[in-house]
Symmetry: C2
Subunit: 140 residues, 2 copies
DNA sequence: ACAGATGTAATCATTCAGATTACTTAATGG
DNA sequence: CCATTAAGTAATCTGAATGATTACATCTGT
């Protein structure tokens, strides 16, 4: 949803876009979009103005926003969650398994983010425009 | 939880271990463990026998089980879920965003699995044993 | 001042993983 | 051979998380 919203903002090339409009593209409620935009604001990915005729826009070129930044701005919790109940500390395995796994999972998550970092919002936008051209050719 | 269970089986070095015992280490219900073991059986990671004196054990050496296999045996759904509501197909971005993202997310997930594949169950077991030694030194 | 937009709180709905109980099925030991 | 032990499995419950909805306060440009 975050990538979708940012892609729309990139598509609009700096024009201010309202949460209502974004919600229409994502097919959700404007309040959900506004909550998402708050996270993106904190990460300095978008700038939002209040009041009449206002809305949001990207704070940088799509070329300079990669998907790892987007991921981190939105996902506060870790991908690999700890279990709700603590393992049995009397068992030699249960005693230390969380400690061991947290290192491994942090590494796996970092690998994932490094892969996401290879793609920028400009790449996503380009894919959108290609798809748009194809649709235009099919039904001119 | 899957890694935890497999680590206990590795620690027990081929002895048959009951779901009740495993549940005691994980601190959960034996039924939960049995459901998990069904997935691990399908992936040929463990062998389970029914009846008195029965239980589960690894079907291979811990050296030859890596965490990507474990991940895939347990996680049937994709890490990056599609949104509950379909994006607005009338919007040029909404029309194609899922298609574009599915490729990117598949790549990110593959990167994560490749990182997990670098670690074997034997590595996890070694970490457990190191931790065990330290605990023994502290309180001999 | 007012219209249009965001910020934000409160509440509801849905989904999902795990928890629990209960019952059936199978294999082993005496 | 049968009593015991443990897995397979179904049904139901709970709690957490995410998104949906409604309502209202606040800000800002015309």
């Amino acid at each position: 949803m975050a990538v979708h919203v940012l892609a729309v903002l990139a598509y609009k090339e700096g024009d201010r876009v309202t949460s209502k409009f974004l919600a229409g593209s994502v097919n959700t409620n404007p309040v959900i979009v506004r909550r998402l935009l708050l996270s993106l604001q904190k990460a300095r990915l978008v700038e939002t103005c209040k009041g009449a005729g206002a809305g949001s826009r990207l704070s940088r070129s799509p070329r300079r926003i990669n998907l790892a930044e987007v991921y981190r701005s939105v996902e506060d919790t870790e991908s690999f969650a700890s279990p709700a109940r603590k393992p049995n500390a009397d068992c030699p395995v249960g005693h230390c398994i969380l400690e061991a796994l947290s290192r491994l999972f942090a590494s796996a998550q970092q690998a994932m983010e490094q892969d996401l970092a290879r793609t920028t919002l400009a790449d996503v936008l380009a894919a959108v425009k290609v798809s748009e051209e194809c649709a235009g050719k099919k039904a001119p």
